[in-house]
Amino acid sequence: MIDIYTLFYHLKSCPEYFFHCPPLNRGVVPHTEVLLKDMYRKVHGDFSVQDAALPTLVNLWQYDENQLISMQVGCWLFHHPFFAGKPSWVTGIDFFLNDDLQALSPFVQAREWVEDEDRAEEFIRLALRKCGVIPAGETALEAADRLEALDTLKRQAVLRGSQASYDRIREIRRKMAEQKAREASNVYGRE
């Protein structure tokens, strides 16, 4: 068991090295790949494990810089000793770093995962959930509630919904004004 605050302070201390992102070049192993493989081996608890036993990293070429740096921040998080020697969590970590961060990176800049307190907490809780870990001192329900309250994707959906509603209302009001100023069939059949 681990509490959120321990991981929070660990994440906050992410070294600048994890924010570097040299351009990807053919024939050169990407910086992100180096960090990922190092982290996966640590989680495996076996540094001699073959690349083939690690999650495939072919997608890296498709990611933009913000996502690559976000994944590197994730590498730093999973370097915490709590994750070491837990090979059964590798699949969940792979899912978090690829799928979750891919969905989130359009809305969150990589540095916010460290510098913004809510985003840092969301990052940690999401990572723990993918590993099937409930933070110490919380029930499963409390942990789910807290994550929902921080959920960037949900917040974006609400904002998009509000914007759509706002745009619709503005359009209706514009149309009402236009129809009142112009001739509508508004009096047709009215006494």
Binding site: R168, I169, I172
Partner: protein
């Protein structure tokens, strides 16, 4: 709260836009250019496209063929699906509970505050039309609708006429309907009905000021001899005074309740049935008088009666406020809308009847010279002023007592407006209170010591 801004509509379309489906508009030109025609001050059309017309015809089929609306103790078949559609597509109803029984009532103040909240997300905004109420029974209000729900007033009327064995002749060279007004000022136009194959629809004001010659009123009306005359009791009484030689198939009073005395007078003179239709701007025709009760005419409206002050539905037979759910307007779908009118409901073979309906009784006011004043005139005059509401009473000595709610010093303007409507010399006591002191929403209230 956002009150409807009082703007008069302006002419802004051409005839092809007013009647997209009618290629021959010669009858319209004839009605406008007739030597006896009034000085029409407006133009209006039904704006029905082919898809709209199909929907109007489909609606006509449903409304004329519905033999039962719902059974006593039950609800209409469409109600649950309608509720679910409202909850899914209309911002105002989004957070509503999913059972119909748990729905709260809404009122005029909700529509006044934000009419756009009632527009279904499925409603195409290019079809949005606006009508501003005259403010006869409350503050002026913007009502949104589309060409289909607009045009459906004719199938609604037809379904009522059919009950009385009356058929409208939908011929492109006849006037089907004339809306008769008798007001100092109102919009007037000659128009056609696409649904009735291009038959004429006229809106006329009997005020001689709107005609080239006062005698033209008779000559024009008699020449085109409308099949249906609709209007309020004041307008019909004024029409009768002109002694026109008309042969209408029916007279329809819809803006105000018809009293038995006025009905008899009109039936004697025009020698045709005089129908009293209960109608409201928010959803058009609801019911038609049959004896001393009103038969509901709309299978797509669910009618209930609620306690006046509490959100409690009352059983059949108990008197309360009429509450309406349903309609065919995607820009204003109603769920438990309080009408402000009172009655009880009786079910008979799956058809609801409104019993003891108290709605918009005509309240007669008189000038010192004994001339009848329609309270619509008063409402119209007051619409120009920043009033949140008002009451007006006339006593046996013709003295007026006006109480208004406004945050501006408008007593003098009210005095001037009353003098204009009642002609000079009328005595009026005027009191203006701050808006915060107004206790109810629907505060336009007329009372008179006189009877019509």
């Amino acid at each position: 709260m956002c009150m409807a801004e009082n703007k008069k509509p302006a002419i802004g379309l051409n005839d092809a836009e007013r009647f997209p489906l009618l290629s021959d508009l010669s009858f319209l030109q004839q009605l406008r250019q007739d030597e006896f025609a009034p000085r029409y001050n407006f133009q209006s059309g039904d704006r029905l496209e082919a898809t709209h017309l199909e929907k109007v015809k489909a609606y006509a089929h449903i409304i004329t063929n519905a033999s039962t609306f719902w059974q006593a103790g039950g609800t209409p078949d469409w109600l649950e699906q309608y509720l679910s559609w409202c909850r899914n597509t209309i911002p105002f109803y989004e957070a509503r509970p999913d059972s119909f029984a748990a729905q709260p009532t809404i009122g005029r103040k909700d529509l006044l505050a934000a009419p756009w909240e009632f527009v279904s997300r499925e409603a195409p905004l290019e079809e949005l039309l606006v009508y501003q109420t005259s403010g006869t029974t409350g503050p002026a209000m913007d009502v949104l609708f589309d060409p289909v729900s607009q045009a459906c007033w004719i199938p609604q009327l037809q379904s009522i006429l059919q009950q009385h064995g009356i058929l409208l002749d939908a011929a492109p060279d006849k006037v089907a309907i004339a809306l008769i007004c008798s007001q100092q000022e109102t919009l007037t136009y000659a128009s056609l009905s696409t649904y009735l194959n291009g038959a004429g629809v006229l809106k006329l004001n009997l005020n001689p000021a709107g005609w080239k010659d006062p005698n033209d009123r008779l000559l024009y009306l008699e020449k085109y001899d409308p099949q249906v005359l609709t209007g309020d009791p004041f307008a019909f009484l004024d029409l009768m005074k002109l002694e026109p030689a008309l042969r209408p198939k029916v007279l329809v009073s819809s803006a105000m309740k018809l009293t038995a005395g006025v009905r008899e007078k009109l039936e004697d003179y025009f020698r045709c049935p005089v129908l009293d239709i209960y109608s409201m701007t928010e959803c058009r025709m609801v019911a038609c008088a049959e004896g001393d009760r009103y038969r509901a005419i709309r299978p797509e409206l669910y009618l209930e009666v609620f306690d006046k002050d509490k959100d409690v539905a009352l059983p059949y037979g108990e008197r309360g406020e009429l509450v309406i759910t349903g309609g065919n307007n995607p820009f204003l779908p109603l769920i438990r809308y309080r009408t402000g009118d009172f009655c009880s409901i009786e079910m008979e073979q799956g058809i609801p009847y409104l019993v003891g309906l108290e709605a918009r009784l005509p309240v007669p006011f008189y000038t010192l010279g004994g001339e009848l004043v329609n309270n619509i005139e008063i409402s119209r005059a007051m619409m120009e002023l920043p009033l949140a509401g008002f009451t007006l009473h006339q006593d046996k000595n013709f003295r007026l007592t006006f109480t208004g709610w406004s945050d501006e010093a408008i007593a003098l303007a009210v005095q001037t407006a009353l003098q204009k409507v009642f002609k000079t010399g009328i005595a009026a006591d005027i009191a203006i209170h701050p808006v915060a002191a107004m206790k109810e929403m629907k505060v336009v209230n007329y009372t008179s010591a006189f009877e019509l």
